[in-house]
């Protein structure tokens, strides 16, 4: 059974989240303080973390950093009462994969959690290469010269989405739909921040990217720009 750690200091909301997620067949661990998260996490690693930004003890952004330092793989979805760019971008930069702005619909939350837990690209060939990077889809690892580059699940999904159709230009909206499972979202901050994070890990020089390139006015593609695939 899937287990989700819910970190929120509002008891009623946490309880309600528990009811909704249990109803969807998801087991829930409730944590109400930011500084208690890591203890629970180490003892009983969940499949996904739902993390409120405003927390007593330690704020959500910092908690997010600590989790990422411990585990690259676990998906983190931030819950925020603020839709402000500043908070959202901080959370994403700290390693969150996605965020939900309160108030959200329970169905939306469940769908979002399922997307993040989905095993991606199972039907794909087990190996892809992009430039000098080898992608092992089954193992969920990427290596350069035999050396593994640690990626989060989302970063991995993003890279695979681009790499499986090299040369194709993806709009940000297409990536949002492909990787995040959003049908009608234009919150390009999600894409931008994660592309930056991914580049920081895989590019030789993130200032002059050659593996994931920007097509001005349209979006991104895998490979060097110049040959525009349609």
């Amino acid at each position: 059974m899937t287990s989700v750690m819910v970190v929120d200091d509002d008891q009623d909301l946490a309880e309600m989240l528990g009811i909704v997620l249990n109803g969807a067949g998801i087991e829930v661990d409730l944590v109400s303080r930011g500084d208690e998260v890591m203890d629970v996490f180490r003892n009983n690693p969940p499949d996904l973390v739902l993390l409120d930004v405003m927390l007593p003890g330690l704020d959500g952004i910092e908690v997010c950093r600590q989790i990422r330092a411990f585990s690259q793989k676990v998906p983190i979805v931030m819950l925020t009462a603020k839709g402000d760019t500043h908070d959202v971008v901080l959370g994403l930069e700290a390693g969150a994969d996605d965020y939900m702005v309160k108030p959200f619909k329970p169905s939306e939350l469940v769908a979002r959690i399922r997307t993040r837990l989905r095993r991606t690209s199972g039907e794909l060939a087990s190996n892809l290469t992009l430039s000098d990077i080898a992608i092992d889809v089954l193992e969920h690892t990427i290596t350069r010269g035999g050396k593994e580059i640690p990626l989060t699940r989302l970063e991995f999904d993003l890279l695979v989405a681009l790499a499986k159709e090299p040369g194709r230009v993806f709009t940000r909206e297409a990536l949002l739909s492909e990787v995040w499972g959003y049908r009608h979202s234009t919150d390009t901050r999600l894409v931008n921040v994660h592309i930056q994070r991914l580049r920081a890990k895989v590019e030789h020089d993130p200032e002059y990217p050659t593996i994931i390139t920007t097509i001005r006015g349209i979006g991104y593609k895998a490979g060097v720009s110049g040959t525009r695939g349609h």
């Binding site: 509002d10 619909k105 390009t188």
Partner: protein, 516 residues
Amino acid sequence: MRRLKISTGFRRSLTLRVLSTTFVLTTIVLWVVGSALFNRISTGVVNEKIKSSLSESTLAVYSAQFRFSSGGTTDDSLKKIAQEVVNAKKSIKATDSGREVILIRSAKNLDPVVDIDTVSNRVSYSSIPIELRDRLLNSSEPLWAQSTIQYINGAKVPGIVVGDKISIPRVGPYDIYFLFSFESQTHTLELVKRYLFFSGFMLLFLIIGITWLVIRQVISPVRAAAKIAEQFTAGELDKRMSVSGIDEISKLGNAFNAMAVSLEQQIKRLENLSRVQQRFVSDVSHELRTPLTTIRMASDLIFAYREKFEPSISRSAELLQSQIDRFELLLADLLEVSRFDATEAAMEITSVNINDLVSRCISDLTLISLQKKVVVNFENSSTISIVDVDSRRIERILRNLLTNAIDHADEKPVDVAVKSNDSAVSVSVRDYGIGIDPNLVNRVFDRFWRADPARARVKGGTGLGLSIALEDAHLHNGTLKAWGKLGEGAQFVLTLPKKVGGKIDLEPIEIPFSKL
């Protein structure tokens, strides 16, 4: 063009205005005074000359009369005396000025025994005005007139002619004329004139200089005050005038500074007040979100099981659900407005093709437009108009304009158009529905303003949509303009600069009757 420049410079600069006024007035005064002075002097000099000429000629006549009476016995001796009388300058008080003498037979003397008409220095007879000769006929007194002394060689000198009668034994009555030159007087007057001009110019420059100094003393503090006031207006509320002394200017400075202090306090107070208020709105919105999330989820759960309840509870669950939706929208809009008020709205800039953005918004609204039986016409043109914008905000504007148009279209089509030029891109949304009163058209951007209060509830919406749209447009340095006419529909035009912080030189689409 140049005249315009000078006249605007004239209107702008007090210094220039005062200096030119001073210049004109001083010139006039100096001219009048100088002319009067010169007239006085020249009259005085001329009169003096006339006086001296008269007395000189009187003496000379006496002397001549005496010589003719005592010595003129023969024709030759008469001629000799005549020569001596005419040329005897030294003998009778010949002063600095030259004088000529003409001895000429009187008009009464019809039959002279001998002709002794004589002139000195080849002076011409025409030097004597005929009018003077005529008057002399019937006069017992010596007479004078101003004239020009003419010589046979053509030289002319201004002067005075004094005529008198002389009686010569045997020959009869003769006229004797003394011609006094004004040459030295003219010379003197010329000098006087030159000095007058010179001192006039000196005075003029002095006065202009003094005026300029005075203006500077008065104007420079005024200029400083203006500069401080400008800085103050620009938001540098701590700017004050430096005050020294106790004159009128420093009074101005003190008054100005007192005003500045009072203004600064007021502004700070209001700023603080408004900050507290915005903070409060923002905090309230945030604080409401967490409980609203719980309510939302509880309501969703209840809503999902509504069919298991009895009808009244089931209906209540539906109402609860729809009102929570509305509440959520209102809260989101309220938060957005408070963010604008606090000028905290941040932009997330990306380059997008505006045509794609418009197409997507239209297709997102397909369901609503089908429900309302409205056809949305938009031709996605092949030209790509790339703009640097916060696509979330622009999409929000477009969705708002489109929803509005569809809501008010009255089952008539809605026309959407995109046009661009070098600097900007315009999107126009036009409906042919119920329209807006042209006098109220710009009030649609007011918060919570409803064109038709009776129908507002049915239409839904938060009443903040267009005001947020306008703020979003302004955030991009863009414009959002509205046009409307009752029964003919409404048009909204969003214009955005292509580059961040760019300027709109010309709006690619203009609204029919711009009121802004």
